[in-house]
Symmetry: C2
C-alpha cells in the first residue's frame, strides 16, 4: 500500500501570483483603456547577450556533428565552466577549487535539493519575509522552522538569535524580497555563530551581481571561516538573463563537514553523491552559453544588463525618497521593499496602486507574516515604463 | 548542530565504470598497438538530427531578441511540447491530458525526485539486476527494499510476488540492463497486483522507441487500470540522442491517488507541488528542440537513429546465436544481456574479452547480485566497429 509523504499536506497553497493575475485581469476588463505597467515581476526582460547567443549557436552546431557531439557529461558540470566560475570567484579574492563548484539547472533546484543531505531533525532558521522555497522545501522534509523577524528595527537584516540552536540557517543577500544587503561585519557574526553551534549556512547569492558598493561582500566566502560552515547558491538568472535558459551553481567547500553518529562527514562528497544519483547535468549547449557569460566580452555585456536594471531601481528609489516613504533596497539590489503609504496594508495598497495608477506590484504579506504593511517593486521592467509608473505614483499618492 | 541524513551512509560507492576505465587504461598501456572497441557504453553516439538543430538555432535567435525572449516558463513544461507528447501517446492509443505530462531534464532526475512524494515507510519492490538509481534513491530515503530476482528461469522478467506487500514497484521495459521486454499479459498481471494491494508502479519506459514487435506495449497505460496505479517515465535520451541535451517527461495521471491518514491524495497535484517548489523547468531552447523531435520529419529522423542502433543489436545477437550462447534483448531493445561463455564469472569474462579481443563490455555483476555470470553489450556504438568487435569475439570464443 503506497502511502504519501504526509509532510506535503502541511504545505500551504500559494495563491500570491495567481491572485495578483486575477485582480489585474479584472481591472483590465473593467478599464480596457488603461495601460497597465507591471513592477511586480521577478523575471528579467532583456534578451540574452550577443556573446551568449553566439556560443549557444556554436554549441548547437557541435551537437549536430558526430565528431563534436556530446552525450552524457559530468553531472557536476564540465570543467570548462567550473574553471571559469572558479576564476570569477578568484577575481573577488575567493579561492575555490573547481571540485567545490557544482553546476546545476538553477539555484531554486539546488536550494530545494540540498535538504536531501540533512536530517529532518535539524532546526532551520529562516528569515521572514522570505523567498517561499526555503520554507516549503523544509516543510516537505518535516523539518522544524524558527522564523527570524526581518523588519524596520533590524534594517530587514536579522542577526543570530541568542537562544535558538540551529542546524540550518538560510541567508539571502542581496535579499529577495527586501533588497537589504548584509555587511561584512554582519556576515562575520553569522559565520561565528554557525561555527559555534555547528550549523550550516545556506547562503543564497543569486543577486550578488547587483552589489555596487565595494565594501559589501558578494560571497559568504569573503568571510574567514565560512568555508567550514557555508554552502553558497548562485545563478545566471538575474545577472545574464538566464531565467528561461536555466543555469546556476552551488559551492560546497571541501572543508565543510557535518556530524553523524560522532563522525564528520564531507558535505562535498555527499552532494556529489546526491547529484550523480539524482541528476544528469545541465545541457552541454547551455553550459557553453554560460561559459560565454564569464568571458571578458560576456562580463561587459552582463554589466550592461545590470546597469540597465539598476537605472530602473534608481527611478523607483528616487520617487519614494521624494515622497518620504521608507524603503530598503534599490541600491545594490534589483528589489525595492517599501512601506505602504497612507497606513495601508499590503493588499490594500496593491488595490490602490492598481486603481489609481494602473501599476502592479507585489504585496509584502505574500512573503510571510512580517511582510504585512510592505510592498515589493522590482527593477526588471522596461526603463520608460518604470519612469511612467513612478510618475503616475508620484501624482496619485 | 547540523546533522546529515544518515541514510546516505548506507549507500555503497559504485566503482563499476571507474573500475572498467582503469582496466581498459592499463590494457591499452600494455598493448598500445591494439585498437579497443567499446560495446559497454550506455550513451548514444549519433549526433542530434537536422530538425532538432534547426529548432535549437531558431530558439537561440528568439532568446537573443527582446520581442521573442522567454524568461521563466511553466515548471511543468510549455504547452507546445506537452501537447506534442500527448499526441505521441495518442498515436499509440493512450489518451492523456497535457496536464498529466510533466517535462523535465531527464528520466533519471524524475525517477530520483519522485521518491519525495512517498513515505519512507513504504516497501519498494526492485528487480535485480537493476539500473542502480532505483536502489540508491530509495536507500537515501531509508526505504525498505525487496529485490525481485530476474534470471533465466523467468526470462529476466520478474512477476508479482505471492507474499510481499509493496508500496512502490519499479519496472523497466525494455529493461536496462537485460533488454527483456514485458508482454501485455505480464503487465496486466502487474497492474492487477498493484491495484489489489494499492501500490504505485514506477514504470521506466526510457527505451520504448526500440520496441519493433507491435504486440509489445510501449507504455504501461496501454494496460487498462494503469492510470489508477502507475507513473511513467520517458526520455528523449536514447531515442533522439538527447543524453547531453537533457529532456525527459513523466506522466502522473489525474486518476492516480495514494493514501494518507485515510484520505485519498492526488499524486498529480503532489508532483506539481514538488516540481513548482524545487524545479524551474527545462530551458526554453531545449524544449523547442524537443518539440521538433515530435514533428513528422523529426519522428522520421528519430526512427533512423533507432534503426541504425538496432542494426548493431542484430550483429551482436547473430554472433551470439551462432555460438549458441544464451542471451536476452537485442530485439526490441538496444541492450544485449548475455550469459558469460565458458562458465566465466562477469569480471572474468570482462578480462578475457578485453585480453583476447580488445573489446569492452559491462560485467553483469555490476547491476546487482543476480547479474553475476552475465554481461551487458550495447548497440550504441559505430556500426563498423560493432561488426569488427563481434568478428573478433567469434574468432576468440
Amino acid at each position: 500500500m503506497a502511502e504519501i509523504n504526509g509532510n506535503f499536506l502541511n504545505l500551504e497553497e500559494s495563491y500570491l501570483f495567481s491572485d495578483i493575475a486575477k485582480k489585474v485581469a479584472a481591472y483590465q476588463k473593467a478599464h480596457p483603456e488603461k495601460r497597465v505597467i507591471r513592477l511586480g515581476i521577478g523575471d528579467v526582460t532583456l534578451p540574452l547577450t550577443p556573446s551568449v547567443t553566439a556560443a549557444l549557436h556554436a554549441a548547437v552546431d557541435e551537437m549536430g556533428k558526430a565528431e563534436t557531439f556530446h552525450g552524457y557529461g559530468p553531472e557536476q558540470g564540465y570543467d570548462f565552466l567550473r574553471n571559469e566560475i572558479a576564476a570569477y570567484y578568484q577575481s573577488r579574492g575567493v579561492e575555490l577549487d573547481a571540485g567545490e563548484i557544482f553546476v546545476s539547472d538553477g539555484a531554486k533546484s539546488d536550494i530545494g535539493n540540498i535538504t536531501d543531505l540533512f536530517s529532518s531533525e535539524n532546526t532551520a532558521l529562516i528569515p521572514d519575509p522570505v523567498y517561499p522555497v526555503y520554507v516549503d522545501t523544509n516543510l516537505m522534509n518535516g523539518r522544524r522552522i524558527v522564523y527570524l523577524k526581518a523588519g524596520e528595527s533590524n534594517g530587514f537584516l536579522p542577526m543570530p538569535p541568542a537562544e535558538a540552536k540551529a542546524g540550518l540557517i538560510y541567508l539571502c543577500s542581496p535579499n529577495n524580497p527586501t533588497g537589504a544587503v548584509y555587511s561584512k561585519e554582519q556576515l562575520e557574526k553569522w559565520v561565528e555563530y554557525a561555527l559555534d553551534c555547528g550549523a550550516v549556512i545556506l547562503f543564497d547569492a543569486a543577486y550578488e551581481a547587483y552589489i555596487a558598493d565595494p565594501s559589501l561582500p558578494h560571497s559568504i566566502y569573503e568571510i574567514k571561516g565560512a568555508e567550514r560552515c557555508a554552502i553558497e547558491f548562485c545563478s545566471l538568472s538575474k545577472t545574464a538573463g538566464f531565467t528561461g535558459t536555466r543555469l546556476g551553481y552551488t559551492v560546497v567547500p571541501y572543508a565543510l563537514t557535518a556530524a553523524f553518529g560522532g563522525k564528520e562527514v564531507s558535505l562535498n562528497r555527499l552532494w556529489l553523491r546526491r547529484q550523480t544519483t539524482k541528476f544528469n547535468g545541465v545541457p552541454y549547449i547551455i553550459q557553453k552559453g554560460a561559459q560565454a557569460v564569464f568571458s571578458p566580452e560576456g562580463q561587459k555585456e552582463t554589466q550592461e544588463l545590470v546597469t540597465y536594471y539598476m537605472k530602473n531601481a534608481s527611478v523607483i528609489a528616487e520617487a519614494l525618497s521624494a515622497k518620504g516613504i521608507p524603503y530598503v533596497g534599490g541600491i545594490n539590489s534589483p528589489y525595492i521593499w517599501m512601506k505602504c503609504p497612507e497606513g495601508l496594508k499590503s493588499w490594500e495598497f496593491f488595490d490602490e496602486l492598481l486603481n489609481r495608477c494602473s501599476v502592479v506590484g507585489t504585496p509584502g504579506a505574500g512573503f510571510g507574516a512580517n511582510g504585512e504593511g510592505f510592498f515589493r517593486l522590482t527593477s526588471f521592467g522596461n526603463h520608460q515604463d518604470t519612469i511612467e509608473a513612478m510618475e503616475r505614483f508620484s501624482a496619485a499618492f
